[in-house]
């Protein structure tokens, strides 16, 4: 008797609901129907997957609308749309990474790619290597050196300025008008188009040192215009979350404010600051446009940032694609460009992972 009551109750509660196996059944039938439809027009895996997904969504929402009512159906429709948009967004991103891997690996594993520059590699050399089927000559060593040096100088300029500005905002300003102006301008600076930062540096040094001044240092200045706001923002956030008790304890012991900042506040926040800086480096190392107008391009190794044109990885990719070394045989140039792109992505990913690692290493030791 009692069991009968619960039986009836459960059935009342589950009325107007689809059984649990419905989605699986719909999925299975969607896959089969899609395969059948694709067989009619010519089969390809991609179309099959898309058609199955669409059929599944339609079947799911439709059955729900019939059995469960409008509200549940709307919910399922929203779920399908959100998941569908997510999968759609993954497509180009996977495609980008796949394209770079497929095109980049052959060039990257070519011996001498990392160790040689483009010095002496002319159109004739490329033509010969295509004709004879020999490995592509020339490499990215000069661009790698340029990228590292320019980014190093940009970091050298941006980190002290950015960190000190963040310290001013958090420790000294006490929320006055000037700090509000700085915060606002830093936000605005984050949105400066990179090409405009490059133009600024070019115009600035053209005024001081005469027109047409293109050196690695000009590029470093352009990059620091882009890098400073990122450093300020991230350091500011990190300094803000240092507990006030630590500062007060230091003051209570008679420690000067600057020593408190140097010995207590910054060490506590260093993990976040360091990872913020690393992320900022990762951001500017891939900038192309400002380097194009400030550092020019070079085919030889230049280790002096204060004189002479300098190549960098992004501009190397750009020039190899836009103006192939040998116009009649662009393949070697394309191969070098993709290999450099792969190298650049690997660098950026390593920097991103490094930021996480740095955050973990420098994290202040907790009591336990």
């Amino acid at each position: 008797m009692a069991t009968l009551m619960t039986e009836r109750k459960r059935s009342a509660l589950t009325r107007g609901r689809l059984p649990k196996y419905t989605p699986y059944a719909i999925a299975a039938s969607a896959v089969i129907v899609a395969a059948a439809l694709m067989a009619l027009v010519g089969f390809n895996v991609f179309g099959w997957a898309v058609l199955s997904a669409v059929l599944f969504a339609v079947g799911n929402v439709g059955s729900s609308a019939i059995v469960e009512g409008r509200r549940k159906a709307t919910d399922k429709l929203a779920t399908s749309l959100v998941v569908g948009a997510f999968l759609l967004a993954l497509l180009p991103l996977i495609s980008v990474i796949w394209t770079v891997l497929v095109n980049g690996v052959p060039g990257l594993v070519t011996p001498g790619f990392l160790g040689s520059s483009m010095n002496g590699v002319t159109g004739a050399v490329d033509n010969a290597s295509v004709k004879n089927g020999t490995p592509v000559l020339g490499g990215v060593y000069h661009a790698l050196v340029g990228s590292v040096l320019i980014t190093f100088w940009a970091t050298l300029i941006s980190v002290p300025v950015g960190l000190l500005a963040a310290i001013y905002l958090v420790e000294y300003s006490a929320g006055n008008k000037f700090s509000k102006v700085i915060t606002f301008l830093v936000d605005v600076m984050t949105g400066i188009p990179s090409i405009v930062a490059g133009l600024f540096a070019a115009a600035f040094f053209a005024m001081i040192l005469g027109p047409g001044t293109k050196t690695g240092f000009v590029a470093a200045v352009a990059l620091s215009v882009l890098m400073i706001p990122v450093v300020v923002r991230s350091s500011e956030e990190m300094l803000k979350i240092v507990p006030n008790e630590l500062r007060e304890a230091a003051y209570a012991l008679g420690v000067r404010k600057w020593r408190t900042i140097m010995k207590v506040v910054i060490p506590t926040a260093i993990s976040g600051i360091a990872s913020g800086v690393t992320l900022a480096i990762a951001r500017v190392i891939g900038e192309t446009a400002p380097l194009l107008v400030t550092a020019g391009f070079a085919t030889t190794i230049n280790t002096n940032v204060f004189a002479g044109w300098m190549s960098s990885l992004p501009t190397f990719i750009y020039t190899q694609i836009m103006t192939p070394t040998s116009p009649s045989n662009p393949d070697p140039s394309t191969q070098r460009a993709w290999a450099a792109a792969l190298l650049l992505i690997i660098l950026v990913m390593l920097l991103n992972l490094g930021a996480r690692l740095v955050a973990r290493i420098f994290a202040p030791k907790t009591g336990r």
Partner: protein
Amino acid sequence: MSTTKLAHKAKTGRTATGRTGDKVFSGAALGAGALIVAVLFAVALFLIVQALPTFAAPASEITGGKGFISYIFPIVIGTLIAATIALLIATPIGVAVALFISHYAPRKLARGLGYVVDLLAAIPSVVYGAWGASFLASQLKVPYAWLAEHAGWIPIFAGPASSTGKTILTAGVVLAVMVLPIIASLTREIFLQAPMLHQEAALALGATRWEMIRMAVLPFARGGIISAVMLGLGRALGETMAVALVLSSGPMIASLIRSGNQTIAAEIALNFPEAFGLRMHELIAAGLVLFLITLAVNMVARWIINRHKEFSGAN
């Protein structure tokens, strides 16, 4: 005797250095803050000064021979078209991706996905440009031809379609792929901040997940979504390399699937390395226009964020 003297010396010494240290340090901090303000003004100032010769020059000497306005107008329009296409595609998908990560994906998966989205936002633009030029453009040739044939009566799809696929629509799609991770990661942050109690209350009252999102999450996040889109717009407007590599530029035309149009940033990047004299000033003037447009967009975005901050239930 000597010990007290030593102690005294040490004490005074420390106090003196401490005081100077304080002054030096606070001065340096203030100086760094002032430097940032100065740099931004310098950016504007140098652009204006270097752009001035353009406005003084006779109209016939400007590229195109009809004065600066008729030179800049088509590329401003081109910039706006590319950015609009990018946002039309990236906004709904970006918001949906953010929703998926914050409210639909299993929690363990969500952390990893958030990290992947951040990584994708870090891929250099030149790589996206290379991808767009070599892969996407050739993939889009067929759809463009189809559009030209079947929807050619709409001015924006007027044929004949580009045979290389290097059109402003392709550039817009590449820009969309680039700004999508930005919009997604910014809006995800906002969605995660939506008050948990409101969401749980909605669910407890019997709302479905979508109703909960519509009633408790989206109203909270509206300001954040708008500002994320505005920041994406700022990025799309100023993006150089993707457009420079993908678009085969030309004069302004209405059709999106023929080669033509140009954006300010790409115009500068393509021409500045060889520019000298008046042409250089002209390009800097174009840069100034771009700077002003993005400045306006960013200011509006920040204004929305700040307004949102004051009225949201978060604080």
